[in-house]
Amino acid sequence: MFNQLLQSSNFYFSPYAIPVMLVGILIFLIGSFVLRQNFRSPVNFSFFCVCLSNGIWLFTVSFVYLSRFTETANFIYRYFTFFGVAAIMPSLLFFISSWIGSLSRRKKFIIANFVISLIFYVLAVTTDKMIAPDRMRAYFWGYYPVYLPLSIPFLVFFLIQVLLSVGELYSGYKKELAPLKKTQKKIILIASLIGFTAPIDFLPKLINLPWLYPCGYISMFIYILLVAYAIVRYRLMNITLTITRTGIFVAVYMLVLGLPFLLLTMGKSWLMQFLGVNWWVGPLVLLTVLATAGPFIYIYLQKRAESILLREQLRYRETLRQAAREMARIHKLKKLLNLIVHIVTRTVVITHSAIYLFNEKSHKFILEASRNLKKPQITALDEENSLIRWLKDYKEPLVHEDLRRKCEEEANPLFKALESQLRLLNAEVVVPGFLRDSLIGILILGKKRSQKLFNAEDLNTFALLANQAALAVENAAIYENIEEQVRQRTEELMQVQKQLIQAEKLATVGTLAGGVAHEINNPLTAVLTNVQMLLTDAASLDKDSKESLELIEEATKRCRTIVQKLMAYAKKPTREQAVSQVNLYEVADKTIAFLEFQVAQDNIILELEAKEKEYAVMGNSNEMEQVLTNLVLNSRDAIKQVKRSGRIKISLLKNNNKVRLEVSDNGCGIPKEVINKIFDPFFTTKDVGKGTGLGLSICHSIIEKHKGTISVQSILGKGATFIIEIPGLVIEAAYAKKHSRN
C-alpha cells in the first residue's frame, strides 16, 4: 500500500498543489521556530502542536491534489491528511488553554479531546463509514474525499471545539485586566476568527460549488503568522497596525498573484481568441506588471492606512519631535525640565511624568522635575542602583508591563529587582537619556490615560526625545554655568575695581599726608618754639597771658600728634628691608604700646602673655610690627561687630625650635565658607572703605618671607586665633656657630 507513494508515476504536476504545500512547510517551520524560542513553555509547545497538525494537513493534502489516481489520493487523505485534520482542534484547544492559563484545570478535557479525535481517525482508517475508501471527487485542482454519514458526528465535534475555543478566548480576553495581556488575547482572538474560516474547504462538498478552490489554508496561514508573532514579539505590538499591514500585504499579493492565476486558469479560451497559441503571454505580462507595481501599491496603501489608524500617535510623536528641536533654545535648566515633563504628560496623555538628573557631586540621580505626581516619589536614585546599571548597559527604555510578564514567566532576580524599582518609581516606562554614552538623566512616564499600551514606535520616539533632552540639558547647564561665572567674575571685577579705587585713594591720602605734614610741621615748629620761649620767661608774664600761652602750647602739641599719626599712616617702606635679629617680645610690646590707646576707645583690652622677654627670630622688625598691627586691628573689628567690649591677647611661646606668636580675640569668629579665602588678596568681609582685602594677604607674604607659617582657627561666634610660627634664632645661631667652627 505504501509502495504507491514511492512511485513517481502515481503523481503529476498541478500548480494548485504548490501554494498549499509551501504553506504547510512554512507553518511547520514557524512552529519549530516558536518552539525553539522556549522549549519548556507549554504555550510554545502547544503552538508547535497546532503548527504540526496544520502542517501535516496541508503538506499531505498537496499530495492528494498531485495524485494521478483515486487510490493514491484516497490512501494519502485517509491515513495522513485526516490525521492532521483530526489533530488540529485538540491542539488548538491545548494551545488556547496554555495561553489563557487554564491548562491545569482543563488537562482532562484536552486529553479527552485528543482521545476522541484519535477515535475518529481510527474510524476513518479502519471503517468505510466515514470517508469513502474507494472513490474520490475530482475537481479542477485535484481529488477531494467523499465524506460518509459517520463524518457528521466528527463535523459536529469539530464545530463544538471551534465554538468552545472562541468562547474560551473571548471570556479570557474580557476577564483580562493587564493591558499587555489583554492585547495579546485580542491578537489571538482576532487571529482565531480568521483561522476558523479555514473549514471553507468543506464548502465545495457541502453546497456543491465545484469551481470554489479550497483556500482555507490562506486563513490558516494568516492565523499562524499572527499568533507566532504575538508569542515571539508580542510585547509592543500594535495589533490594529499589524493586522492592517498583514491584511494589506495579503490583499496586494492576492491581487498580484491571483489575477494572473485566474486569467491563467479561467481565461484560457478567451485569451486564445486574441493570442492563439501564445495565449500564456497574457497572464505573464499581467503578472510582470502587477509584480512590479505590487511593492508600490503596498507601500502606498500601508502609509494611508497607518496615517488613519495612527493619527493620534503620529500627532504626539510629531509634537514631541518638534519639542525636542525647540528644547535646545531654552537656557534655563529648571524651565527646560518643567517643559519636558509638561509636554510629555500633555501630548501623550499620560497620568504623570518625572525627570531624574545625574548629580556629579552626590553621584546620584535626583528628582528635578515632575508633573501630576500623586503618590510620594523617590527623590534620589543611587548610581549603583540595579535600574541605573541596567539602563547604562542596555541603553533602551524599560516597560513595567514587560517586566511584570517576564517575572511571571521566570524567577529571574534581576527582573524582580527591576520590576520593584519601577513600581517604587511609579513608572510605566523608564526612558534613559544619554549624552556621549553617559547616562545623564532618566525620564519616568506614567500610564496612558487611554489604558493603551506603549508600543515600539512610542518608545523609539521617547528615546529620541530623551537623548535630545539630554543635549538640551547639557546646553542649559553650560549656559547657566557660563552666566553664573560671568556674573561672579563681574562681581569680583567690580569688587577689585572698588578696592583699587580705594587703594588709589589711600595712596593719594598717603602722599597728601606727607606733603601736609611737611607744610604744617614748619609753622608748628615756629609756633611751638616761640610759645615755649615766651613761657620760659614766665616771671615777666601775667597770669592770664601765661594761661593763654599754655593753651597755645597744648593746642600746638595736639596738632603735632595729629600730624604724626597722619605721617605714620603714610609711612613708606624703606627701600632696603634690613634683616636682623628681631625680638618678637619687643615687637609685641611696641605694637601694644602703639595700639593700646586706640583699641581702648572700643572698650577692648589688649594684653601680652609671655613667659620670658626674649623671643628672637631673624627678620624685619618693621614688617613684624605691620603683621601684628594688622592682626590686632582685625581682631578689634571682629569684636566690634558683635560686642561692646572685648579682649585681644597676644601670646608668645617657644615650640620645637620655633617661636609661636598667637593673636586671639573673642569676636565674631570666621565662617567656615570663608576661612580658606581670608589670606587671598582682595578678600574682605569688611565694607568698602573699611578694608582693602590686602591686610592678611600682606601678613601672609611677610610671614612666608620669614620662612614661617600663618594659620587661623576659629569657632563662629566665639572668636578667632591667628597662629604665626617662625623658626627661632637660638637654634639657627647655634647651627651657624657649629658650622663656623668646622
Partner: protein, 125 residues
C-alpha cells in the same frame, strides 16, 4: 666765646624761630635757605654746629651737610656736628641722615631740642 650755629631751612619761620631760640640761650647763629648758600657761607665763616632741614629745594639737607663736612675737613681738618630737623621726609634719606648726626622731628619741644644741641656742642669741645 659763644658757639656759632648754622641753621639751614628753606622756611623763614623756622630759621627765625630756631635762631631766636638759640640766641636766647647763648649761641650765635648764621642762617641759610638752601644747600649751596650754606656751602658758600661756611667757606669764610666759623661754625661749631649745623642744624639742617632735610627737605630743601634743589640739593637736600643731607647732601648739603655732607659737602660742608668734607669742605671743613679739607680746610680746617675738623669735623662739625650736625642735627637734622625734619617735618616729613623719605625714610631712606632719614636713615642716611642718621649716619651723619641726630635726627629730630619737627615740631620739637624747646627743652628737648636744647638738650640735644648742648650735648652735641659739649661733645665737640
Amino acid at each position: 666765646m659763644p658757639k656759632n650755629i648754622l641753621v639751614i631751612d628753606d622756611d623763614g619761620l623756622v630759621t627765625k624761630s630756631v635762631c631766636g631760640l638759640l640766641q636766647n640761650n647763648g649761641f650765635t647763629t648764621d642762617d641759610s635757605e638752601n644747600g649751596p648758600d650754606a656751602i658758600e657761607l661756611v667757606k669764610d665763616t666759623h661754625i661749631d654746629l649745623i642744624v639742617a632741614d632735610i627737605r630743601l629745594p634743589g640739593m637736600n639737607g643731607v647732601e648739603a651737610v655732607k659737602q660742608i663736612k668734607e669742605l671743613l675737613k679739607a680746610k680746617h681738618k675738623m669735623d662739625v656736628p650736625v642735627i637734622f630737623i625734619t617735618g616729613f621726609s623719605d625714610p631712606d634719606v632719614n636713615a642716611e641722615a642718621q649716619k651723619l648726626g641726630r635726627l629730630i622731628y619737627k615740631p620739637f619741644d624747646n627743652t628737648n631740642f636744647l638738650d640735644i644741641i648742648n650735648s652735641a656742642v659739649e661733645t665737640e669741645t
